[in-house]
């Protein structure tokens, strides 16, 4: 397929790998923020071919993984209201909250439907006028405009039985938090390619400017990632701190302005509870007053009991990059994709699932 196949050329990849190995790079920790990159790096075997003294760390860039138990409990509460159909992206179904996952609740008879897009949720709302359709809105800046668009569309078409639980999160405050904790040394960051497609490359200049950490915005195909890694290592070797956009076919300096305007119109920035980090200031998006008739948290009482953490699960430490999944005592034997105890094993983009599927000792 165009724009995919050519970025998977194995001959070109071999040359880049050999170039990487030929150069003497300093010991470096590179963090890929995005769960999509984590999976792509594992799947293509890039971890095995980078120079031995270069360590790849996975960051907290998997929305499913960082959605807190307290937020999952809200979805668990809303389905108990009469006439509610809960719609959600499929990735969220298996994540255990304090009590039940959405799969468990569906098995108990609650009406919970997996959708690919908010467009599908709106269709369900139009076809079920006597029901209340709630969309469980998780995601980062990439997904936020698609949820904003659905709310704008619902208003325009007078669809008054569509509601959103917004637990959307912003990536930049989370990276700042992770770096400020100082628990993990990061020499270079592979920034999220599709988040920056929306935000624009300019928003990522804070990494070299404020934190003196080089950053590369790259795509998700093997050649994109190899080029990104080479660019980061070259900068580290030359002691340069810059922002490099390798994913120029998608990431513009200003991003998608229309998408950003929609986010601004529909949401306000608020504090948000992240798994692994607790509450991070100004890191979430809540529905603004102008659109509050679509805010499920205003329409339903979704206040929940304090959440309960799954015993022994080390997703918190994995998300902060302090430990690798294989260092968790539950990994593989107790916690695996068939029987996941934590979200990092549930999500296909979670670090634990990636290690389970691809890690070679």
């Amino acid at each position: 397929m165009k724009f995919i196949t050519e970025f998977r050329d194995s001959n070109l990849a071999e040359s880049i790998i050999k170039l990487l190995r030929k150069e003497a790079y300093p010991n470096s920790n590179l963090m890929e923020f995005c769960g999509g990159h984590t999976v792509a790096i594992f799947r293509s075997g890039i971890r095995e071919v980078v120079p031995k003294n270069v360590k790849m760390l996975s960051g907290p860039g998997c929305p499913v993984c960082v959605t807190s138990n307290s937020d999952i409990d809200k979805a668990g509460k809303v389905v108990r209201y009469p006439d509610v159909i809960l719609t959600t992206f499929g990735d969220m179904m298996k994540v255990p909250g304090s009590y039940d996952s959405l799969y468990d609740l569906r098995a108990k008879g609650y009406d919970i439907r997996v959708v690919y897009s908010t467009i599908d949720a709106l269709k369900i709302a139009e076809e079920n006028k006597n029901k209340k359709i709630v969309f469980f809105g998780i995601g980062f800046e990439t997904t936020a405009p698609t949820i904003a668009a659905s709310i704008i569309e619902a208003k325009r078409r007078n669809i008054n039985n569509y509601f959103v639980i917004s637990v959307l999160k912003l990536t930049i405050p989370a990276i700042k938090k992770l770096l400020s904790l100082g628990e993990v040394k990061v020499n270079g960051i592979i920034g999220p390619g599709h988040v920056s497609t929306i935000t624009g490359a300019n928003d990522w200049k804070f990494l070299p400017d404020e934190y003196k950490i080089p950053c590369v915005l790259t795509g998700f195909e093997p050649l994109d990632i190899l080029l990104g890694i080479k660019s980061l290592l070259d900068m580290i070797k030359q002691n340069k701190q810059e922002l490099v956009t390798e994913y120029l076919r998608s990431v513009k300096p200003e991003g998608n302005i229309i998408a950003k305007e929609m986010i601004e119109k529909v949401f306000i920035v608020d504090d948000s509870d992240w798994r692994g980090f607790n509450v991070i200031e100004k890191s979430g998006l809540k529905i603004s007053k102008e659109f509050e008739e679509f805010d499920a948290e205003k329409v339903f009482d979704l206040k929940t009991e304090p959440s309960i953490k799954n015993c022994g699960c080390k997703c918190d430490e994995v998300l902060r990059g302090i430990i690798s999944p294989v260092e968790c005592s539950l990994f593989r034997e107790v916690c695996n994709p068939e029987n996941p105890l934590g979200p990092c094993m549930v999500s296909s983009e979670g670090a634990c699932a990636a290690y389970y599927n691809y890690y070679v000792e």
């Binding site: 070109l12 997904t143 698609t146 668009a149 704008i152 999220p192 599709h194 076919r249």
Partner: protein, 80 residues
């Protein structure tokens, strides 16, 4: 979760388009990318086109990769 895939727009009606992803055709929304036109390649995320794929930039990236490949092969020959 932030997965986005390239697709070719084959028809447009108002803010909705039919996009071709390999052999699959799917309806997508152009609400976030109203400037998209038929035959454009766009990135699709969760049913919405989120950006036009810039073919010139894609070719430049491929060109850079090819230069690195040539550089490696030439320097390899010199060393031998």
């Amino acid at each position: 979760m932030c997965l986005a895939i390239p697709a070719k727009i084959i028809s447009i009606s108002n803010e909705t388009a039919i996009a071709e992803i390999g052999d699959v055709k799917r309806e997508i929304s152009l609400m976030l990318l109203p400037e998209a036109e038929v035959n454009d390649y766009v990135l699709i995320h969760a049913g919405y086109a989120i950006q036009k794929i810039d073919e010139d930039e894609a070719n430049k990236t491929l060109e850079l990769l090819k230069q690195m490949d040539e550089f490696y092969n030439n320097s390899g020959t010199l060393e031998e």
